[in-house]
Amino acid sequence: MKVWDAIYTRRSERKFVPGKEIPEADMEKILDATRYAWSPFGAPAYRHLLIKDEETKTLIAEFAKEVAHRIFGQSYEIFRGHLWYLPGERVPEIAEYSQTGELWTYPQDCSFVVIPLMTKGSFTDGLFYGIEDICTLSAGMALENMWLVAHELGWGSACNAMPLNDIRRREIFYEYCGIPSSWQSMGAFSVGHRAAARRASGPSRATVEGIAFEEMWGARYVRRGLRKNEESGSAPTKIPDAELDVVMKELASEIYKFDAERSVEFWKIEKMVDAARWAPNPENLNHWRHIIIRDEKTKDFIAQSTREGLKAMSKSVEDLSAHFYFVPEEDRVAFIEYLIDESWKFAKECDTIVLTTFARQWAEYAHSVGIIPDRIDYIWASATGCGIQNMRLAAKTLGLDTIMNIFPIGEMRRADVLCTMLGIPQTWVPVSMLHVGYASKDDVWKKVQRPLPSLDALVFDEYWGVPWSK
């Protein structure tokens, strides 16, 4: 399947044929896709628990139904507002099976469930604090890869946070499956045989104008095609496309330097933002906003912030050496020196920066009124990760390269300054800074690539710590 077909036709499919298994080879392909997601410092911040056991699936389904009923059942008026895109006469029917919780029992009928879990930043050995959201984002990227591959292979799939977003039910489930409490579950991703024909469309999304800003928070980005005096000829005859699995794997290769002389066509950035819109989105709340930054002064500020972050991180070569075990020993010191002294320049040599924020408090109900104790903000962060992965896939398909930069946003003082500068309200959290451009031909360190994690290290079989094997 090609990238655009995958992104634009992926759906949440929530009715499965009970008892029908998905071939082992396809399950492996779906799980394998998680290996190619981005992670902070290259250390995968996520693990997956594979569930095929019928009793465990039933437990997940029951939890989902109970919690969905408690959340959605609270208020028809609120729930119907989330279905704004549906014709009025269809709303009561959809609301009913969502509000009773019946819709969410589908994990019991699927072939397998994957529980994505993330580490809340514990893998960064004190180099950073406050990157919990970024780790969640990374786990979301891995989830999106799985989802797209499941769709490519023709299987139905859906994810819902309900079974495990209530801390009491989560505790029971963790004990049942031996999951350590330092790992945060994101929900249950179910894959199976579709019981009904594929839906023609998923829920509608907000427009690009509704979710994207230009240079500053609040300055709406209006698509170029809608602006006065814009040359329509800027749109290409046909947008390049590529095979999904090829692009996904290519994304695992990092670059360190952009070609500062080469600018990116506007339509490519619009395509990236558009691809992000079509990521899975809890309750279709469009809880993400992107700021498209091209202003040189802002880029320079971000570059300086990146430089400062790198300096602060690198107390010594020895500290960092373990992180870069994959660099040949004879090159390691030079590589680390380059990272600290030179690499920050990518932040201003890129053409565009897409700064993505998500809303921590976005649902009108849930935890705020005691229905769901504990936080559920990870749901929004992980879904935003799905959007970022779409954006990165789009960029690669269009011949662009991207660098994820966490330095200006991963440390709260620098993030605070950046938010003040760009006018980002406190209720919105900067969670991804994607630098976009064309890779430089002088990127000497591109030859150094981190090995991919092995699948048995990432996926556990029914119980925490039991490596999954083919």
Partner: protein, 110 residues
């Protein structure tokens, strides 16, 4: 053939109805992806100033109608039912279905 079809679509766009549909938005962009072995793309840009039909593939459409020339022509001529084509996958939608349905209503597609 294609240019006749394009003109037919453009002529059906009644300014008053379109204005009402646009509401307070900056406008809408409806893409067409015609797949007949090879692929051809065009898109309609609708703003309060009117509608323009442009060649090429717009990167961020409100919805994209993915179909064959034969099906699109049949719909435009009233020989093929739009909703039936959607149900039977003769048309695939990329983007917001509610926008595609609104557009089809304006076009008078059954």
């Amino acid at each position: 053939m294609q240019s006749v079809l394009k003109k037919q679509i453009l002529n059906r766009l009644n300014k008053v109805v379109v204005r009402k549909w646009l509401g307070e938005s900056d406008g809408k962009i409806i893409g067409f992806k015609i797949r007949n072995g090879t692929e051809r793309n065009f898109h309609i840009v609708l703003t309060k100033n009117g509608a323009t039909l442009r060649d090429g593939e717009y990167p961020a459409c409100d919805c994209v109608i993915v179909t064959s020339e034969e099906v699109l022509k049949g719909i435009a001529d009233g020989k093929v039912a739009f909703k039936e084509a959607l149900k039977t996958d003769k048309i695939t939608n990329w983007g917001n279905l509610h926008e595609m349905l609104a557009f089809s209503k304006i076009m008078g597609w059954k």
